[in-house]
């Protein structure tokens, strides 16, 4: 499970590559938490361009990271979200707490 990172203006872009399910969750979670610990960013942006599948286990991971960044007063956003993932995301009520932007540029300007 490949997770890439970029820090832009103290905003951590998290690029997940592959399906997010219970099997891949654990690794994604620990990679992200390590990076947040190390870089201490102001906010986080999930780049979902290379995620073709996500189920409610993935929602758990996203919410967990959202809570983590909240404790230090930060916020979370999501970009490049494909239709299947958008539907799971909406059903699970994430729309209300983690805004979705078209692309990275818009997210970086808005948060």
């Amino acid at each position: 499970m490949n997770v890439g990172f970029d820090l832009v203006n103290n905003k951590l872009i998290i690029r997940i590559d592959g399906d997010i399910d219970h099997h891949t969750c654990e690794e994604i979670r620990s990679k992200i938490d390590n990076e947040i610990m190390k870089r201490n960013p102001k906010s986080i942006i999930f780049d979902m361009k290379n995620v073709n599948f996500m189920d409610s286990s993935g929602i758990g991971v996203i919410i967990g990271r959202y809570k983590l960044i909240m404790t230090s007063g930060g916020i979370a956003a999501m970009v490049n979200v494909k239709p299947q993932i958008k539907r799971v995301y909406e059903i699970c009520g994430l729309k209300k707490i983690i805004p979705v932007y078209e692309n990275e540029k818009q997210a970086l300007e808005s948060i």
Binding site: F53, S57, I59, V61, I63, Q84, R87, V88
Partner: protein, 142 residues
């Protein structure tokens, strides 16, 4: 009712089989020519039920999971069965946000996802015996 096609899959409760299970069901329903959205709906629902069997049913111990799927005309029936610990209060379990394992960062949305993506979801469970989730979806004809 006439069964057009039927398959039964049995596999070990290992987390790498979550993606295997959804690929199998996707390959099976390919003969119904589902839309991309319909295919994604079924794969997601299957992923939820299989993940639950692994995490909650068998609590990540060894066990066997069975998927039976039938195609009748434009409808697919999918049954996902474990012989794990079972659900004590099914009504509570099906509530959105309810999870018995918050320590694992579970969202408690598995059943809600299944119910949203499939036309029908039926849960049968008995403590100490196991759980069977039966789902149905009818595809729109093209």
């Amino acid at each position: 009712m006439r069964i057009d096609n039927e398959m039964k899959l049995e596999f070990m409760s290992k987390s790498q089989n979550e993606s295997f299970a959804r690929s199998v069901v996707a390959a099976f329903i390919a003969q119904l020519d589902p839309t991309i959205d319909e295919l994604a709906d079924v794969k997601t629902a299957v992923s939820e039920a299989v993940t639950n069997a692994i995490i909650h049913g068998y609590e990540c111990q060894n066990g066997s999971i069975i998927i039976i799927s039938r195609i009748l005309d434009k409808t697919v029936e999918i049954e996902i069965k474990d012989c794990g610990k079972g659900i004590e209060d099914i009504e509570l379990a099906r509530q959105p946000l309810y999870t018995s394992k918050p320590e694992l960062e579970r969202s408690g949305m598995g059943f809600t996802v299944m119910e949203t993506f499939m036309d029908e979801v039926e849960v049968e469970s008995q403590s100490g015996v196991g759980t069977t989730v039966r789902m149905k979806k009818t595809f729109k004809s093209i």
